[in-house]
């Protein structure tokens, strides 16, 4: 007897579906709860922390961490400003420069495309190392303690350039470029007026990746930044966390300086700093999410 169905239903059984859903709910919770815990601790009253430790249900709430954070707002706001400035400038420059590199190597009629593709690809395999980079940056170019030292290293990400290249190759039909050339358009015009507007998904994706990379970067600050007013936010957070740990663990120091110890940021303050550091990302994230999944998919698979 032949079973007839209107539509071949190849879905998994409802039981399996329920089980998978359960797993994913757990997984999603695991991804979200740590952030939630940090937010909750940042508004927990210090007494509650002392009595009960970190918990999702503090006895008392208190906004004092944020109060003190913004009272001494000079440092925080300064760091925020540095982070925002670097992120915006860096991301814009990065997307533009990567597009400028990706486009020529995506054009079949460019004779040197294989050479330059290899030049970029090789950097993915072999690197000079941190020390070399440090010496080149500080001594050959003289960028110690400068904002350029924070922007430069992240400007060109080879993997992303290749994603862009693939996107150009698959989305921009050669006939379009041909006809523009016949109409008399120069290369620059073609790039800015035709190619770029058509490439918004991948540009948005790269802008998102760039923003994340710049906002989260602390390693370059660790290497190159020496003056306190140039600290970006993540680096400031790192110093606060590490220095406080060091002071707390150093018993001698504590014994000799009791007033200093009492002035140390308590834990809810540290968590408040973390919230302040994550905040922008979490806010921006939902808006960009649909873009970058699409951008990654188109580019990465065919690349």
């Amino acid at each position: 007897m032949i079973k007839t169905r209107n539509k071949r239903d190849n879905s998994i059984s409802p039981v399996a579906n329920a089980a998978l859903n359960a797993w994913f709910i757990l997984l999603s919770l695991a991804c979200v709860l740590p952030i939630l815990l940090v937010v909750i601790v940042s508004v927990s009253h210090n007494d509650s922390l002392l009595n009960r430790g970190y918990s999702f249900f503090p006895e008392k709430l208190s906004g004092i961490a944020y109060e003190s954070l913004f009272k001494d707002y000079g440092t925080i706001v300064g760091a925020y400003g540095v982070s925002i400035g670097i992120t915006v400038a860096g991301t814009l420059l990065s997307v533009l420069l990567m597009a400028l590199y990706a486009y020529p190597i995506s054009r079949e009629d460019y004779p040197l495309r294989n050479f330059f593709t290899f030049v970029l690809f090789f950097t993915m395999l072999f690197s000079g190392g941190v020390v070399s980079k440090y010496i080149v940056f500080t001594q050959a170019i003289g960028l110690l303690d400068s904002y350029m030292a924070l922007i430069l290293p992240l400007l060109i990400v080879p993997f992303n350039v290749f994603i862009m290249r693939t996107f150009f190759q698959t989305t921009i039909h050669p006939a379009l470029i041909e006809s523009s050339r016949i109409d008399g358009a120069g290369e620059w015009l073609i790039f800015f007026r035709i190619v770029l507007p058509l490439s918004l998904p991948v540009m948005a994706t790269m802008a998102l990746f760039g923003t994340i990379a710049y906002w989260n970067d602390w390693f370059n600050s660790l290497l190159f930044i020496r003056s306190e007013e140039k600290y970006p936010l993540q680096f400031l957070m790192m110093r606060v966390l590490n220095d406080v740990q060091y002071l707390r663990n150093n018993v001698q120091l504590a014994a000799q300086n009791p007033e200093l110890m009492s002035q140390l940021p308590n834990e809810s303050l540290q968590m408040a700093m973390a919230v302040v550091g994550i905040g922008p990302i979490l806010l921006v994230y939902p808006f960009f999410q649909k873009y970058f999944v699409k951008g990654l998919t188109v580019g990465a698979i065919k690349g």
Binding site: N10, I35, Y101, L125, M238, L296
Partner: protein, 288 residues
């Protein structure tokens, strides 16, 4: 048109490559970089005879391999599972949530871990004590950290790793599945014989590229998350953290250059080796 970007690539990536010669010199500040004497492989000797070398190499390689395998299995598993879920809206929702940890910096993650593992008030110890167990001094006991670090790394990487595989799975021709259903294949067989082989090329490419980084480690993960706790060094010290400490504390430029060079060279050869191995098995799937 490419000139500015090219300039930056040269500056940022190629110039430092030439700096590798520092590894072969004994830099002192009076002579500067160019005038310092060449000492051949002495820096390398020093590096390999240091007591830590075995420990940091072992840590780095073992962690890299573990992460590679764990993350691959989990990413592919999640990708397959998400692709099979019935509610597409729900699936999209899960995808959004599990990608989120990727966007946090390691500094933030170390705060998160601290919120859990803080000996006095961290969430885990509070929970343990409420069950009557003893609290654990997480930042002084080494035995848990391989698991903790693997978990944190997976937590951060698996969501975004799955995205690529999800896209790949979405590109598989539905006709294969229809043919399989006609032949009476169960979901499980379909997965093993259609889904997995179809994404095999991508898995191989990602693996080859990762092999090049076996001797590298995520500095943020190994420096920030354990909060640079000295007691944990036996299991958390990797080549990168070691090089950093040597550079910052001992100012030994030569030895850290030597270590970085070893990493790069070994990584490069590993990529070549893995690529040729893949070539022997299936010529088309090799990277180059």
């Amino acid at each position: 048109m490419m000139f500015p970007a090219l300039l930056i690539v040269v500056l940022n990536n190629y110039l430092p490559m030439f700096g590798v010669f520092i590894a072969f010199k004994n830099i002192n500040y009076t002579d500067g970089i160019w005038g310092s004497p060449w000492i051949g492989f002495k820096n390398f000797e020093f590096l390999f005879s240091s007591q830590s070398i075995w420990r940091i190499t072992r840590n780095t390689v073992l962690y890299s391999l573990t992460f590679m395998v764990v993350n691959l299995v989990l990413s592919v598993g999640i990708a397959v599972a998400i692709s099979e879920l019935r509610g597409r809206l729900l699936a999209k929702g899960y995808q959004t949530l599990i990608i989120m940890p990727y966007f946090l910096s390691m500094v933030v993650v170390s705060y998160l871990v601290y919120a859990f593992l803080n000996p006095d008030r961290g969430f885990v110890n509070v929970l343990l004590e409420s069950f009557g167990a003893d609290k654990v001094f997480w930042y002084s006991e080494t035995e848990y950290w391989p698991y903790i670090l693997t978990l944190v790394n997976a937590w951060k990487s698996v969501g975004i790793g799955a995205v690529i595989y999800i896209a790949a799975i979405a590109g598989i021709d539905p006709e294969y599945y229809e043919a399989a259903v006609i032949d009476g294949a169960s979901k499980w067989r379909q997965t093993i014989h259609i889904t997995l082989p179809s994404i095999q090329p991508i898995i191989i490419i990602m693996t080859i590229l990762s092999m090049g980084h076996v001797f590298n480690s995520d500095f943020g993960l190994f420096y920030q998350v354990p909060m640079d706790a000295g007691a944990l060094y036996p299991v958390t010290d990797t080549v990168d953290t070691y090089v950093y400490r040597v550079l910052m504390e001992l100012n030994d430029i030569g030895m850290s250059s030597a270590a970085a060079l070893v990493q790069s060279v070994l990584g490069f050869f590993l990529v070549l080796a893995t690529n040729s191995a893949v070539r022997k098995i299936n010529r088309e799937q090799a990277l180059f």
